[in-house]
Symmetry: C2
Subunit: 231 residues, 2 copies
């Protein structure tokens, strides 16, 4: 089949959309090549598939090689395959979305690139079709977060209710009533209240919560209607 010139073979790339939550803002991690080709162009973190690698494996490897992070929540979003998306040669890209705790990312391991967090609403011009990828990933995040409690992946182990509310407000571009929000979230039985307080945000301090790992029978549809006007 491969001999048949009617059909084409292509390099396989993965690109990783990396979300983080920092200073109450939803951000994405972008990189910029310091050298040619594509010097100074911002793009998603990416790489090519190796010989015996699946895209899932490749995406995890790329993330690990660049950030040192392991065991991160990742999900395949969409494959981009326009024949001229990379003008130099045919490459299709399988895009992944991952959610990381920004505090765990320290520095890029690969010196050929520079990395920076961008507010999701202030993403610069990007290489190739990477801007579309950001849109697709963001859209996917909304849908996913409405149906499942994944946004905790963006927070530290311990977090406060005001923090997580701000996160939801960022993701859904909406404001929620704090009384209703906390009532619903706590009703999901997902959280365990700690004795400790975070005093950094206010004088009174806000109690820390943790994901309660016991809870497998959670009611999470609970957060759906917060959000579904926007799906």
């Amino acid at each position: 089949m491969s001999k048949n010139l009617k059909y084409i073979s292509s390099l396989l790339a993965v690109d990783c959309l990396i979300f983080g939550f920092e200073n109450q803002m939803l951000k994405v991690l972008l990189i910029k090549r310091k050298l040619e080709p594509y010097q100074n162009e911002w793009s998603l973190m990416g790489g090519f598939l190796k010989r015996e690698e699946s895209a899932d494996e490749s995406a995890s490897r790329v993330l690990k090689e660049l950030t040192g992070l392991d065991g991160v929540f990742m999900e395949q979003i969409k494959t981009f395959s326009k024949y001229d998306r990379d003008p130099t040669e045919r490459v299709i890209s399988i895009v992944y979305s991952s959610l990381i705790d920004v505090r765990k990312f320290e520095t890029l391991l690969n010196q050929e690139y520079e990395a920076r967090w961008f507010k999701i609403t202030e993403v610069p011009d990007l290489l190739f079709d990477h801007a579309e990828m950001v849109i697709a990933g963001r859209d996917h995040l909304k849908k996913k977060a409405a149906l499942q409690p994944i946004l905790f992946e963006l927070l530290a182990e311990k977090f406060t209710l005001p923090q997580i509310q701000q996160l939801y407000e960022e993701v859904f571009e909406a404001n929620f009533d704090k009384r209703n929000f906390s009532r619903k979230l706590l009703a999901s039985k997902l959280l365990k209240k700690l004795d400790e307080k975070d005093k950094s945000g206010s004088k009174k301090g806000a109690f820390y919560y943790q994901l309660d790992k016991q809870t497998n029978h959670y009611n999470f549809n609970i957060l759906l209607n917060l959000a579904y006007s926007q799906l």
Copy 2:
């Protein structure tokens, strides 16, 4: 970059999951090769990407070439990329899901294959990883159908309330109360009642409805909670 042997290039395939609704049952269209290789193995309808084709274009073309159908609802689902998924050579497959009106599909245009509709719960053993694709597609259909009124794509132009309720029951593997179901569905303002009746299913006959194309401001979250216990 392509010279670098660390990275691999691969054939690009699309596979189409084709859903239909026939005799009150949700079905998928599968094909079987009559000749070697893979003689008599059931599989999804697929094909390879051509030189200047995107995956979207390729999927539409494949569908058209095999069924003659055009302008069908199609959506990219997921890309399958395990290196040995096709044991003869590396091929990655971008899977699409499409919804067609079974009455519009008459016969396979390509004589190398035989085609048959299978009840979704009675899919036979399939080639390579195609069984996983069916699962992914079905799952996707549920989520999509809960949020958007797409199941109409599976019905004829005119359809009755009992018909569409059976369709929803099939897709969500649940039973709905017909009074509540019709109230909700009609509240969405998506449907226009016709004067005509379908007498095939009962002596009394059921009124036909049609999608009302005017309605762009529909309330479709209306059908969400029918379904979201299952997403």
